[in-house]
């Protein structure tokens, strides 16, 4: 599957790439919201793993543009935030939500595969 990872933290990107590649998926990486948006449009991935707090364009803004974007499953990801209503809102816009930190990266990969 084609999976797009939009995350500003280098090591998380790297870790996910390695994990997903080892499971045979195609991985595209974006380090900020703007790049993420462009790649989404270009590559039409099957799944987008979307971090929320990012420079240039953040996760929420991108999610709100979802209708105008090629269809894909969206998994929104963030550390536990202060405002739960915001988190609820994000969860509603996405197909699945993840909170950092997570226990096992491979469990996450499994969940993502289930989604598609």
């Amino acid at each position: 599957m084609k999976i797009l990872i939009v995350e500003d933290d280098q090591i998380i990107r790297h870790a996910f790439k390695r994990a997903l590649l080892s499971k045979g998926h195609d991985v595209f990486l974006a380090k900020d919201g703007q790049e993420g948006l462009e790649l989404w449009k270009e590559q039409s991935p099957d799944l987008v793993l979307l971090d929320v707090v990012m420079p240039k364009l953040n996760g929420l803004q991108i999610l709100e543009m979802r209708k105008n974007l090629p269809s894909a499953k969206v998994v929104v990801m963030s550390a536990y935030m202060g405002d739960p209503s915001l988190w609820e809102h994000l969860k509603a816009l996405a197909d699945m939500s993840l909170t950092k930190p997570f226990e096992n990266v491979f469990e996450i990969v499994q969940k993502l595969e289930k989604l598609i």
């Binding site: 933290d9 280098q10 090591i11 998380i12 990107r13 790297h14 870790a15 996910f16 390695r18 994990a19 080892s22 550390a79 536990y80 202060g82 739960p84 969860k91 699945m96 939500s97 909170t99 950092k100 930190p101 997570f102 226990e103 096992n104 990266v105 491979f106 996450i108």
Partner: protein, 680 residues
């Protein structure tokens, strides 16, 4: 002056023409007469006064039958004209006769035929002198008599005048006496009124002074302390009654007399008799109720008029005294009601006046004056400025903190010119200072919290990535190799780090209702302990967690704060090497099942005087900024929020024990509730 010659006929011509004129020439106003016989001479003598009679003895043959003799004639002269002197011509006279005549009668002198004009003249002069003298004497006597009479009259007049004068003096003395008495009476009245200490004495004095006026019923007094209020004082028996009226009765008086009387009668509670008024200006009005008849009334009016000034002055004095007393009392009360301690102190550290709050603070055992004066800043300020107020400074008295404000008082008030008084005004800033430092502390905490939150977030990402990568690497390694073991170690450490971060995030997360979860109390305790590592470091910890399987519905972070607080308090209450015991269990009473947490220490325990207050805000026994005093209060409000309770177990004697109880949720509810728990 007249001169008479009585001569023999043949001498007449001589006397007439020669001697007579000679004599006449020598004397003023002299008239002379001549006669031949004594009988005729008598007649002549009758007609006018003669000073001198010069005579000769007549010849018997010249004498008529009834003609007196010379002697007779002389005696006649002596008897009738004692002042007339006689001169005798001695011819035909015997010495014996002459002697006889001289002795018995007014014969002044004798001369002989061979007369000597000079001698005659001398004799005539002598007789004239004698006559004049005699008549003058008579005149004098008459004058004296007159004068005497005058004198008598004058004396009588004088006596009368003196009498009158005496009478007058006596009567004016009496007047003066009476006036003196009146003045004494007035002075006496004024003295009595002057020492009257209130309107009651005033009225009673007046009543007594006027007892003798039977028809005077009594004094009534109207006072207007404020412009639009009046007070009415009157005597009922020996007691004074007071009534108030919400208007100024004086104004009624000026408008309508009848209404005025009616108002007074209302206040008095009975009809009002005729009044004699003694107005005292705008402050008051004295009246005498009476039943006097016309004349008595006039007298009484006069009497009152004499005393009016005394009455007015005493009234004004009492009025002013009352005002002053009221004002003074009001001020005193004002100062006593103020809870801030206030005092006036002179330069020799004597407290001149102080309010109740100050007296409470400044006891015999504990004089705070030294403290007040001891601030060095204060002294320099005094040296520099003579300003009204020196900068405030803080002093600690017992447990309370005061801000001391010192005001310099104008020395004109004091008796000695060089004295300055200081007014101390203390404000209890214990609470506000605490509040302030607590606020600062809270701000710090919040800032710290934010900082911690930020750092946590920052750390979260790298740790997540690290662990994920470690897992990936582990999956690609030969499980028997050393590298694999190493990677596992790394992954473990990363997991621990993640947990710390997770805890911290939960702990510092702001409170919201959607945080509420079903959690085990034991779990919360375990999660909280890492935060207390440093605090517990020098103590021993005893854990006894027995509430597994029992869930409470709470916001985990908040309960963690409660647990943290209790354990932290326990640590801080003990010196190194203390023992802390944490136990959880399941408890049940008739109404409820609950999970119970007990945190105990073997420290000094809670002081008796604070026992009642420990859950109140801002109470702490920790030093200065270490304790905000909010801990237990916050714990209480958190626990109560979840229908739990928290208390201090006073039966625990080995130190301090706090107990928290939270209601347990039935298992059914948990299953339903778990759906609400956030996705994972």
């Amino acid at each position: 002056m007249n001169c008479l010659f009585i001569t023999q006929p043949h001498f007449q011509g001589f006397f007439q023409d020669v001697l007579g004129p000679d004599i006449k020439a020598h004397f003023k106003n002299m008239e002379f007469f001549v006669s031949q016989d004594f009988k005729k001479a008598k007649d002549i003598l009758c007609q006018r006064p003669f000073a001198t009679v010069i005579m000769q003895k007549t010849r018997p043959k010249d004498r008529s039958s009834d003609e007196p003799s010379l002697l007779n004639f002389l005696i006649h002269i002596k008897e009738h004209y004692p002042d007339t002197s006689c001169l005798l011509m001695a011819k035909h006279l015997k010495i014996q006769e002459v002697t006889d005549y001289v002795n018995k009668t007014n014969v002044l002198g004798v001369f002989h035929e061979d007369w000597d004009l000079e001698k005659i003249l001398a004799l005539v002069k002598k007789s004239i002198d004698k006559y004049v003298l005699k008549s003058r004497r008579i005149q004098l006597v008459e004058d004296i008599s007159n004068l005497n009479k005058n004198l008598e009259a004058t004396t009588k007049q004088l006596t009368r005048a003196v009498d009158e004068r005496t009478k007058h003096i006596k009567s004016s003395q009496m007047d003066a006496q009476k006036k003196k008495l009146d003045a004494e009476k007035l002075a006496h009245l004024v003295q009595r009124l002057g020492t009257a200490t209130g309107f009651e004495e005033y009225l009673i004095t007046l009543k007594e002074e006027h007892k003798k006026w039977h028809r005077v019923i009594g004094p009534l007094l109207l006072v207007h302390p404020l412009k639009d209020k009046s007070t009415f004082y009157f005597l009922q028996g020996k007691v004074m009654k007071v009534r108030s009226w919400p208007q100024n009765i004086q104004q009624i008086y000026e408008k309508k007399q009848s209404l005025f009387r009616k108002t007074l009668a209302d206040l008095l509670g009975r009809p009002l008799g005729p009044l004699l008024e003694v107005p005292f200006g705008q402050n008051g009005h004295l009246m005498f109720e009476h039943n006097l008849k016309k004349q008595e009334l006039a007298d009484f009016k006069k009497h009152i008029h004499l005393n009016k000034q005394g009455l007015a002055i005493s009234f004004q004095r009492i009025f002013q005294d009352n005002e002053l007393t009221f004002a003074a009392k009001l001020w005193q009360k004002t100062f006593d009601v103020i809870s801030d301690p206030i005092a006036i102190v002179d330069s020799s550290d004597h407290i001149l006046r102080s309010n109740v709050s100050f007296q409470f603070l400044n006891t015999k055992e504990n004089s705070i004056l030294k403290k007040l004066e001891s601030m060095p800043i204060f002294k320099t300020h005094l040296a520099k400025k003579t300003s009204q107020k020196s900068d405030p400074y803080q002093i600690q008295i017992g447990r309370r903190l005061f801000e001391v404000n010192c005001f310099n008082m104008d020395s004109k008030l004091s008796l000695k010119a060089s004295q300055t008084y200081k007014v101390y005004f203390l404000r209890d800033i214990t609470t506000s200072k605490r509040l302030y430092s607590q606020m600062i502390q809270q701000e710090k905490m919040i800032a710290l919290g934010h900082l911690a939150g930020n750092i946590t977030h920052e750390l979260n990402n790298p740790l997540t990535g690290l662990r994920a990568l470690a897992q990936v690497i582990a999956s690609e390694l030969d499980k028997s190799s050393d590298f694999y073991k190493d990677i596992l170690e790394i992954e473990n450490a990363l997991k621990r780090s993640q947990d710390i971060i997770k805890n911290l995030l939960e702990f510092t997360s702001p409170e919201t209702d959607s945080n509420i979860q079903y959690v085990e109390l034991d779990d919360l305790v375990k999660k909280t302990l890492p935060f207390l590592k440093t605090a517990i470091r020098f103590h021993t910890l005893k854990l006894d967690l027995n509430s597994k399987g029992f869930y409470v519905k709470v916001s985990p972070s908040l309960i963690q704060q409660v647990i943290f607080n209790l354990i932290n308090n326990a640590c801080e209450a003990m010196d190194d090497g203390g023992q802390i015991s944490i136990a959880t269990s399941f408890k049940s009473n008739q109404k409820q099942d609950f999970a119970e947490l007990k945190v105990s220490d073997n420290g000094p325990g809670i002081p008796k005087d604070l026992e009642q207050q420990i859950f109140l805000p801002f109470i702490t026994i920790k030093k200065k900024e270490k304790g905000t005093g909010l801990g237990l209060h916050l714990c209480q409000s958190i626990v109560r929020k979840y229908q739990g309770e928290i208390f201090h177990n006073t039966a625990f004697r080995d130190g301090t024990q706090f107990v928290v109880r939270l209601p347990i949720v039935k298992s059914k509810q948990i299953h339903q509730g778990k759906k609400n728990v956030k996705d994972e």
